[in-house]
């Protein structure tokens, strides 16, 4: 983590060190919750919140500017829109291949995996969309609410 000491929000060494250790594991766990939603409790909403929480934790311990080095404001704006766009895009793609809206088995005509496998994979795709949207919007809400909308320095 470069530039970690430039923006010192909290000066506490214990908080900083523990956050630095925890954030990578939290993010890996968030990704696990999203991709393992087919087999265990979890999915896009839960995993997205965990991923968003990792960025909020960075902002709490090192300051908002540091969290914006890892997810820039413009990248956040792109991700905000990308999440719902993935979800609705998959749904529209289904209609283009002759199915109903969000009827993933129609995508079998695009890449032949089998209609049942496509329903499974389609659920995965929309979970990724949900996860991206929830993660970026949680971070956006935190940035805005804690800085009064200026998105430069907050708690």
């Amino acid at each position: 983590m470069r530039d970690i000491h430039e923006h010192t929000a909290g000066e506490d060494l214990i908080i900083k060190t523990s956050v630095r250790l925890m954030v990578p594991f939290i993010q890996v766990f968030g990704l696990y919750v999203i991709v393992h939603g087919h087999y265990s409790p979890g999915g896009g909403f839960q995993g997205g919140v965990i991923l968003g929480a990792s960025f909020i934790l960075l902002a709490l311990a090192f300051g908002m500017k540091t969290s914006q080095e890892y997810m820039t404001v413009s990248a956040n704006a792109v991700l905000n829109n990308l999440g719902p766009a993935i979800f609705i895009g998959v749904g529209v793609l289904c209609t283009l291949f002759g199915g109903l809206f969000l009827d993933y088995s129609a995508l079998d005509k695009l890449i032949p995996l089998g209609p049942v496998e496509w329903r499974s994979f389609g659920i995965f795709l929309i979970e990724v969309g949900v996860g991206v949207a929830v993660m970026s919007i949680m971070v956006l809400l935190y940035w805005n609410l804690s800085s009064g909308g200026a998105m430069d320095e907050g708690l």
């Binding site: 087919h38 896009g44 929309i126 949900v130 919007i137 609410l145």
Partner: protein
């Protein structure tokens, strides 16, 4: 105007409460949801979607619209906060 809003709220609430009178009792085994919808999900979900977690199958496939509009609600919340609060810091 305030009284009108209160009246509209009360009438809507009363209508909704009146509507619940016809609902099946909570956990009623003879309710339509228990007689065909839940058994179909439980019996067919893995076969039709190859997703062992039925909750995910219902959420992402059978009730895809619901999940889509949940995502849109979160998106709207984010955009609403952004449009109300976002500003440049005065130097």
């Amino acid at each position: 105007m305030k009284n009108l809003a209160l009246l509209a709220t009360l009438v809507t609430g009363a209508l909704l409460l009146y509507g619940t009178k016809d609902f099946p009792a909570w956990g009623d085994p003879q309710a339509p949801a228990s007689t065909y919808l839940s058994p179909v999900y439980i019996e067919k979900a893995v076969e039709q979607t190859h997703v062992p977690n039925i909750v995910t199958a219902v959420l992402g496939d059978y009730r895809g619209y619901d999940t889509m509009f949940e995502t849109v609600v979160i998106y709207c919340a984010g955009m609403a906060v952004l449009s109300v609060l976002w500003r440049k810091r005065e130097k």
